[in-house]
Point group: C2
Chain length 330, copies 2
DNA sequence: TTGTAAGCGTTATCAC
DNA sequence: GTGATAACGCTTACAA
């Protein structure tokens, strides 16, 4: 039988309310009483039951965290950022992997609501906007990383996807490239759309015509990048440079070029996005856009917690800047 | 105001118990009643409050998961394994990073108990054995990954650290190496002791004298490996091969050799442990011992859940085999 | 097949 | 300063 607040009260010869006061350090308690209660708490190894507390306070001091997949090297840093911010504020994190599957994400969303988490951080979210809106309407606080949804209970933590990709593309153009391809990510992802937009904008600004054949969409993994690059290489006039939706695809692209007997960056320059750990270790090391993943996770959780505390989102959107990291692939 | 089981009952013109029966699909309910209740549940968007349920059932259907650090490439796969097994069984995962710090780990342990998780999975655990024992004594179920503690409520999920390292060392010996160094991990880690033991055993079995100067202890990161290797390289008679506690140290060692103008594996052969994603992408790609991280995480959670269900650990220890993956570094 | 009442372990209300 | 007592939203006897 676990020891309860009642046991402590009885043992200390006080009421439960007094014990509660001692635990939470709120209401007034005579010092002598406090010490006596404290002693009993330690003697009995009493631990307050957070479940019972949550039932009455209506707060679980827990945050849900839904990510696409921890094994995907983009997410661990986000997770760590969220966890650190949560810890600082006394919150616990409930983790779920959604595999970029709207159905799984929605299922988890419902689960998190049942579990009464005080707020939810979503990274790699692919659920229908309507579903997110509905959850928010029902009183749920959310922070979206790399996705924007305009709603008074939804916070968005963004990186300047379009600008950063435009910069990366311009960088290639300045290096003399004209035949620049784009490896497109999943169309459900807002980030994918925005990055692609940045690519097109840079082309436009430099007066380089957009060629649909230079855009290949694939799954945002190494295999996807490899496959996409093979397609591009088979073109009558293959590109001399490639901008990828993310590092994983970029790495796959490098592999495909090398498999085909080409050299990177001499034959084909490759530039990625995210700056995952692996990026520094490929051959050649990947030139990419660094996304402040940890910081974004931290900020998402910290801002969400603030939001919950004050009862409104302010600010509604936080923007981070991506930064080109020039290494060997472009 | 959130809608409760009472609201549903009132609206459907039945008792709360009947609604409860419909939700949980237990007791007998007339089909017509069931449908009526179900309709009201949907109309009202009713979601049972898991906190209230947990308070009375005394089960949270939640597992705690304490790891050293999600950013350390060893852990994401473990996390994913745990999460997948938990999901299958209807459990939720509460995540915590302990940074291999006993103090933080113990703090989390207490927190998880307050939160009433049904069981706890620990990977990269560094808490005092006494602390774990005490938690177990107080009725807490635990699964330890890569650490053995003999206790009726503690499950251990192990990889054959000693054997696998002995194999790796023997592999080097068979390749003709005689001056083989060892990069030792954190002495608090049981895995570190066991792997080191395997190294010594292999040496002994092949009649190669053990040289203390060939053992360097460092933090189990890339920097640690680099530092340790530099020390070894400065020896009057430096080793021609190195076995590392983990891949991160091995990667650092490779870097140190190359920095010093040496070639891997020609001048110094390097062999790691774990087989993290990065291992396949270093130059040269790392020869290492593959540890079934995902499987160990999955098994830990699955076995823990079984254990909770039947009320006893059976079996008490699960052993996995490491397997040498020969790539380019040895 | 359905309902009533008690109680899970806390905190909140309001009196003393 | 301190203590009864009523919630919180649900499940579990036990009745009906």
């Amino acid at each position: 039988m676990p020891v309860t607040i009642r046991d402590v009260a009885r043992q200390a010869g006080v009421s439960v309310k007094t014990v509660s006061r001692v635990i939470n350090g709120d209401g007034p308690v005579r010092e002598a009483t406090r010490q006596r209660v404290q002693a009993v708490i330690e003697a009995l190894h009493y631990r307050p039951n957070a479940v019972a507390r949550s039932l009455v306070t209506r707060r679980t001091m827990a945050l849900g965290l839904l990510i696409a997949d921890v094994i995907n090297p983009f997410f661990p840093e986000v997770v760590r950022g969220v966890e650190d911010a949560a810890k600082v504020a006394g919150y616990t994190v409930l983790l779920g992997n959604t595999d970029e599957d709207p159905v799984q994400e929605e299922r988890y969303l419902a689960l998190m609501q049942e579990r009464q988490v005080d707020g939810l951080v979503l990274s790699g979210s692919r659920a229908e906007e309507e579903v997110l809106r509905q959850a928010a309407d029902s009183g749920f606080w959310m922070a979206l990383i790399n996705r924007a949804v305009h709603h008074p209970r939804i916070l968005s933590i963004l990186v300047d996807n379009a600008d950063a990709t435009a910069q990366a593309t311009s960088y290639l153009i300045q290096k003399g490239h004209r035949r620049i391809a784009y490896l497109l990510g999943p169309s459900r992802a807002e980030a994918a759309r925005l990055r692609f937009e940045g690519y097109r904008r840079a082309l436009r600004e430099h007066g380089i015509p957009f060629r649909p054949a230079y855009v290949v969409q694939e799954i945002p993994r190494i295999e996807g990048g490899r496959k996409a690059m093979r397609t591009l290489l088979a073109l009558p006039s293959p590109p001399t440079a490639v901008v990828a939706y993310n590092d994983l695809m970029a790495i796959g692209a490098i592999e495909a070029v090398q498999e085909a007997g080409g050299r990177v960056p001499d034959d084909v320059a490759v530039i990625g996005f995210d700056d995952i750990l692996l990026a520094a270790y490929t051959i050649p090391p990947l030139t990419t856009v660094r996304v402040p993943k940890y910081e974004m996770g931290y900020k998402a959780a910290a801002a969400l917690i603030d939001t919950i505390k004050i009862g409104r989102t302010s600010p509604r959107v936080v923007r981070f800047k991506g930064k080109i990291v020039v290494r060997g692939s472009a």
